[in-house]
């Protein structure tokens, strides 16, 4: 069962400590690998101890990992509906998350939220916006920018808008031609018929252009259906418009296009930074400022590809605003879900969602709808799980259990019993290994004992039994060194019982002693035999067979005449078999003196008292033989 054994160096407590220390040190790397190879572990089922610890670690990992599955901290990304966000620093994220949980929504944030709502409403297409209203709305941005929450992003929006205005003023001149160009482009949309031709044309054209654009178009060209069509259109438009724009750009340093481009890139930036509100704001302004036209995004294709890795949407500002809205909706839904889950007590689930939603909508005011109480609880849960995870990693099972209890108290859906079972199983496995180690140690199989101890430590380093084992071993080691002297002493006094009583220590101490160990075994054997005979005799006496009992004790006495328990038993029994003993004694005396006839008579008397007596039977046989021999000798002489 225990295939891997840990060796213990004898006699030195320090080495044990080092082993333990070593054990601790080796645990961290040792279990990560198994955790990543579940199949391998399954095939290693016979390696009991390791499996248990692995299972626990796996479980602990799963159980105590507060991080949402969606958050892949290793690769530093957050995956949301096929879109991945960059998660540059998990620690920072965690900190922010915790801060969020710690925070209390203030009046300020409510005000900010209201303000943002107002701004967005004003930017809504439904409103009929003129320059004045736009201006007012633009001014509100600065108000918003004063809030901490805003992070200055509203100002950025405002700047962009201002910039756009400035540029637009500058490129008024070019605006007409731009507008005309736009109209022209529109007309051209009706003309284009064959999509594939267009695609091919596009391809050919794109090969002549920059690699970035080629990629984009090829990506676009792989699209199907009306999206491809539109994409083709877009591509064509874009190509043409680009040419135009390029030409225009050549003419003017700062053109509306530039502003647009800047605008667009800012929107994308906001999106990737998860400032969905600001993205919406900006795209709102964009709609207003660049009315209808130039929706197509021309910038940040890399970013966007990264942002939409699986998507072959052509990126327009609409798209971006759509995505933003989607995100905002998701956040709303998420918050609802969290609240519901929380209210139902499924806080673990709520916490996971919380993380996702937090990441997504960190800057969203909806998050403030999550109650402070809930937040605190989530925080407790989060922290608790982290801590438990740490403890599990450290294999401090006792603390893990405590922690698990706490977590179970907080979250109903926390798998407390599973944790407890796992922990207890691991603890008992460790205990068993310690026990096995002590057994091996006691019989002198040190290597095996070492293996077992290593197992035990590996499973549960802080197992108190290990301490006990260590203490015991130290004692034995101490005793062991005195073992020889003690043994010799006892042997000299023929105190076999004394040796027997100290057999554990002596066994341990003389394990390697080739001269004394056999003697020790012999003595143990002998005393065990005597004990067995005493026990049997007692049993027979209980059944009323006191003579048979006495005979057994006599046998024991022949083995060791000085044994105290045996002599006690004999003394207890003697008065009740006095007549028999007397006869046997007499017979034996006669036998010893060679008076075989008299011995025979006495044996017969004894045999009459206890007919089944072995002693008498043998005595009679011996005496009869002796007598016949004597008679034969006489005969010969006669």
């Amino acid at each position: 069962m225990w295939k891997r054994y840990v060796s213990i160096s004898l006699g030195l407590g320090g080495s044990i400590a080092s082993v333990l220390g070593q054990g601790v040190a080796t645990t961290s790397p040792s279990y990560v690998a198994p955790a990543a190879q579940p199949t391998q572990i399954a095939s290693q089922v016979p390696t009991g101890g390791m499996l248990e610890s692995n299972t626990f670690l796996e479980m602990s990992d799963r159980v105590f990992n507060p991080n949402s599955d969606s958050l892949d901290f290793e690769e530093g990304s957050f995956n949301w509906k096929g879109r991945s966000f960059n998660l540059a620093d998990q620690r920072a994220f965690r900190a922010r998350f915790e801060r969020f949980l710690l925070s209390t929504p203030s009046k300020e944030s409510a005000e900010y939220a209201a303000l943002m709502r107002e701004i967005m409403d004003r930017l809504s297409v439904a409103n009929s916006n003129n320059d004045e209203t736009i201006q007012e709305t633009w001014q509100l941005l600065f108000v918003a920018g004063e809030f901490d929450q805003d992070g200055g992003n509203s100002v950025v929006v405002a700047n962009q808008v201002f910039n756009a205005w400035r540029i637009r003023k500058e490129s008024r001149g070019t605006a007409m031609s731009q507008i005309e160009l736009e109209e022209l482009r529109r007309n051209q949309q009706e003309v284009v018929a064959n999509r594939e031709r267009m695609i091919r044309k596009l391809k050919e054209r794109r090969e002549r252009e920059t690699s970035v654009e080629t990629r984009k178009e090829s990506a676009e060209a792989e699209g199907e259906g009306e999206i491809a069509g539109e994409a083709a259109f877009r591509a064509l438009d874009l190509a043409e418009t680009e040419a135009k724009l390029t030409a225009l750009e050549a003419r003017a340093a700062a053109t509306g296009l530039q502003a647009k481009l800047q605008f667009q890139s800012q929107i994308v930036a906001f999106l990737t930074q998860r400032r969905f509100q600001h993205a919406l704001l900006l795209s709102g302004f964009y709609q207003l400022l660049f009315k209808g036209s130039h929706q197509q995004l021309e910038v940040n294709s890399d970013e966007l590809s990264a942002f939409f890795p699986n998507s072959d949407l052509s990126f327009t500002v609409d798209t971006l605003s759509y995505v933003s809205r989607e995100a905002i909706n998701d956040i709303d839904t998420g918050v609802e879900a969290i609240t519901v889950a929380y209210n139902e007590g499924r806080k673990l689930v709520a916490l996971e969602r919380m993380q996702e939603i937090f990441f997504l909508g960190e800057y969203m005011p909806e998050l403030d709808t999550i109650s402070v109480v809930a937040r605190r609880e989530f925080l407790d849960l989060y922290r608790g799980m982290l801590e438990a995870r740490e403890l599990a990693e450290a294999k401090d099972y006792a603390s893990v259990l405590e922690q698990a209890k706490k977590l179970g108290a907080i979250a109903r859906d926390f798998p407390e019993s599973r944790v407890i079972a796992s922990v207890e199983s691991a603890m008992s496995m460790s205990d068993m290994a310690v026990f096995a180690a002590s057994q091996y140690r006691n019989i002198g199989e040190i290597d095996k004992a070492r293996e077992e101890l290593r197992n035990a430590i590996e499973i549960w380093p802080s197992n108190p039994s290990i301490r006990d084992f260590q203490r015991e071993t130290t004692q034995l080691a101490t005793a062991g060194s005195q073992g020889e002297r003690v043994f010799d002493d006892l042997m000299a006094r023929n105190d076999f019982r004394g040796i027997y009583e100290r057999r554990m220590e002596l066994g341990f101490g003389l394990a390697a002693d080739t001269e004394r160990k056999p003697q020790l075994m012999a003595v143990i054997d002998q005393v065990a035999k005597v004990d067995m005979l005493i026990a049997q005799a007692r049993e027979l006496d209980k059944q009323g067979e006191r003579y048979a009992a006495w005979e057994l004790l006599e046998t024991a006495r022949k083995i060791d005449s000085d044994d105290a328990p045996m002599n006690r038993a004999l003394a207890e029994l003697a008065p009740r078999v006095a007549n028999f003993i007397g006869a046997v004694d007499k017979a034996q005396k006669h036998e010893a003196n060679g008076e075989y006839a008299a011995a025979l008579s006495a044996y017969m008397i004894a045999q009459d008292i206890y007919p089944a007596s072995r002693i008498c039977r043998i005595g009679i046989e011996v005496s009869a033989n002796g007598l016949m021999r004597a008679l034969a000798a006489e005969n010969v002489v006669d």
Partner: protein, 129 residues
């Protein structure tokens, strides 16, 4: 003139014969019951068992029943355990080879014994009864 030709068989004679016969009868029975080794003293079994060597050289009569045979040697004889008639004990006796008699468990014998070296009960003669 009157010469009786027959002897007088008085009444007294038959009676006398009868009485004498009866007495003889009882006496014979009592006497003959005595046994062949009547003149020998009976072995004092209890004392013997106390100290077998206290009776060395003495001759006794012993009535016992055969219990079992302990040893047999063709040239020497046999060692037999007997149940003494008078006591509850068993004794070992030695029947020398010269006494050629079948001994079986359960048979009762009247023995003429002598206590030999070491307290051995040596059978000189035996008579079945």
């Amino acid at each position: 003139m009157f010469a009786p030709t027959q002897s007088k068989n008085g009444k007294a004679v038959p009676i006398l014969i009868g009485v004498i016969a009866f007495i003889v009868l009882i006496a014979a029975v009592v006497f003959l019951k005595g046994g062949r080794f009547a003149k020998l003293e009976a072995l004092p079994v209890a004392q013997y068992l106390e100290g077998p060597t206290d009776f060395l050289g003495n001759e006794y009569a012993l009535k016992a029943q055969i219990d079992s045979q302990l040893k047999w040697d063709k040239a020497i004889g046999r060692l037999v355990a007997v149940n003494v008639e008078s006591g509850r004990h068993r004794l070992p006796v030695f029947v020398p080879a010269k006494i050629e008699q079948n001994l079986q468990t359960g048979q009762r014998y009247e023995m003429h014994v002598r206590v030999e070296t070491g307290g051995l009960i040596y059978v000189e003669a035996l008579r079945k009864y």
